[in-house]
Amino acid sequence: MKDINRRNFIKNAALATGTSVLATSPFMSSAFYHQSADEIKVALIGCGGRGTGAAFQALSVKENVKLVAMADAFRDRLDSSYENLTKGKAGARVDVPEEHKFVGFDAYKKAMQLADVVILTTPPGFRPIHFEEAVRQNKHIFMEKPVATDAPGIRRVLDAAEVAKKKNLKVVVGLQRHYQTSYLETYKRVIDQGMIGDIVSARCYWNNDGVWVKPRQAGMTEMEYQMRNWYYFVWLCGDHIAEQHIHNIDVVNWFKGGYPTQAIGIGGREVRKGKEYGEIFDHHVVEFEYADGMILNSQCRHQPGTVANVSEHLIGTKGKATEGRIMDLKGNTLWRHRDRDDINPYQQEHNYLFNCIVNDIPVNDAERGAMSTMTSILGRMATYSGKKVTMEEALASDISLAPEAFTWDTLPKSLPDENGFYKIPVPGKFQAV
């Protein structure tokens, strides 16, 4: 009975769209939850390593949470995730019977129906349709970044984000730096206290060795191969500028309080030439320009043996800032954060989400997540095309990377040639927008 009450409550809350009365309704008070000790049901959509990690964190919050459904395109991914979750510390909060394990492209819809909160952690190409459906079903949402891989996807997320706001759904996006003490403390000093003056320039990096590669197995359809090796296909991953470097670009957007208006860039494949690396670049260097003319220089690179650096740097009229540190213009440290007892930001984003759900505190990261994702897509459009691209035209782009349908036999839009190599964007010739 409690469960039914709970679901009705969520539904009622969600149906009362756009009413400002909602927030102050006594029905929404935390007392309601505490009295009923109601259970919050969670569904995991996307059971890879990160999805399993996110589910673990959701099950580690102090609220009364239970994982009730799981969905993945692949049965083996779902099984290993289930095994890891049940044997882990959160195991007692996992209650996913066989009939609540859903496999395939439509699995997400069925899993969502059983939950109050959904975790969206499939490859990013699926995020827009999953987010849209979760909002349609009135679910609170944790979704990983990036939230799309192309402009049509971003527009769907932005539209759904508006609906989510009206429905008072809580949405947290896995740009966990927003929930990381060292960044929050830096933000306080840079923005609230103005320690570095006006920000006049910025640079950020995600330069590292690269990530995993999944070999093609005999008998795989092209769709299956691309989904297994999703990192190397733009429709699924967005390229590493979107999948990883978004974190750093997003930090600059956050501190800047806005999004770039245009970008130019250089990129290509220098070391990652094998066919196992699909179609994405191994380096992008982008100059983003904001409305006031401020330039953000952004670099991302996947090249072993090169200088590694993942960081963000702001240069102000009075000083410089990076995560957990503020310097004067000569580089002398003025403030430094010592992070000994900081809470794990991946845990904190879930603590925050569930606290917001129970105490009806508004949180909706979706628009910010979408616009920072769009910034990284803008950068990719600039490096793929070699042209100057404005945010306006990028956001309006009708180029959809998604396949025509989601079945194992559907051919994705990008296909290998007779030697197994994919077509790589050639700057100057590639149409990105």
Partner: protein, 320 residues
């Protein structure tokens, strides 16, 4: 000098020395085949020392005593903490001069999603960090297969013996924390990051950065009551840890307060060192929350049997 030269020659010729061969005990430089890298090893003589700290040492912890006399065999120790330059060649086989000649009989670290130096620098002499005990041991195994020499992590006793270098004070240079800055990178002078190895003063045995910079893995399971169970005069031997945590880490690091860097200070590893790994299962190779834990190589003068060596390289217990 001549012996040093011969030893270095032998090492650079990469002759697999049978374990029975009598080894000359001299400092040497090991060149790693099929890479452009080499590293130094210095001699740590066999001997006895008082392990732990005296009851009157300032800021000491309960787990550092009562002091016991411990006997050790001779070993070589790297004068510097292991650097990323070398570790990355192990991590990325494509960085070997001829990847076709790379050793296949050893697993290599997965490519981590985050940048594991946390922006502190990787190229040109920075100490490796954020590596698990398994990762460090696997690196040693790679080195063993490459060079034929049994490299491993120091035991807790070996580490402390080497750090003390004959001293009986809190640090090898004395009891005054005020002098620490001459020997170590720690909270007050590190500006929040490790530094290239070997820039501070070495101890009497020629070892750099034993205190601060990065803390260092030992081979031993941590037990709070180590000293209570240690017999006076005992010969310290190599023991395999039974659980993944805790394992003893020594030496303090760039974010440590002075007392945490003392020779006798001990720190147990825990799952917290990996808490920010966003994936499940968590990585066997990377810590993610320890951009201040690295390691240093030792090599026993008397090489154990092949089966003992293999036992050392066996995969450790798994994360729970």
């Amino acid at each position: 000098m001549k012996l040093t030269f011969i030893s270095a020659m032998l090492a650079s010729l990469l002759i697999w020395k049978p374990t029975v061969e009598k080894e000359s005990f001299e400092p040497y430089t090991e060149t790693i085949p099929n890479t452009k890298h080499k590293f130094e090893m210095v001699c740590i003589p066999a001997g006895k020392f008082l392990m732990g700290s005296p009851a009157n040492e300032a800021n000491r912890n309960e787990d550092e005593g009562p002091q016991k006399q411990v006997e050790l065999d001779a070993f070589w120790m790297a004068p510097y903490e292991l650097t990323w330059d070398l570790f990355l060649v192990y991590q990325n086989r494509e960085l070997e001069i001829d990847p076709q000649k790379a050793v296949d009989a050893v697993s290599r670290p997965t490519k981590p999603y985050v940048e594991m130096s946390f922006g502190q620098g990787k190229n040109g002499g920075f100490p490796v960090c954020n590596v698990t005990q398994y990762s460090a041991r696997s690196f040693c195994k790679w080195l063993y297969l490459k060079t034929g020499h049994f490299y491993r992590l120091p035991t807790e006793a070996e580490w402390e013996y080497a750090a003390k270098a004959g001293s009986k004070t809190a640090w090898s240079f004395g009891d005054e924390a005020g002098q620490l800055g001459e020997y170590a990178w720690f909270f007050e002078n590190s500006d929040g990051a490790y530094k290239k190895v070997g820039q501070k003063k070495p101890n009497a045995w020629g070892l750099y950065d034993m205190y601060g910079n990065v803390a260092e893995w030992t081979s031993d399971q941590y037990t709070a009551d180590l000293f209570k169970n240690l017999k006076d005069g005992e010969k310290f031997s190599l023991k395999q840890p039974k659980t993944l945590y805790p394992i003893t880490i020594k030496g303090g690091h760039w974010d440590s307060d002075p007392q945490e860097t003392r020779s006798a200070a001990r720190w147990p590893s825990s799952a917290k060192l990996k808490q920010r790994d966003p994936q499940i299962p968590k990585s066997d190779w990377w810590l993610t929350d320890a951009p201040f834990v690295g390691f240093r190589l030792v090599r026993p003068l008397h090489e154990p049997s092949k089966s003992e060596i293999e036992a050392y390289f066996a995969p450790p217990p798994k994360d729970k």
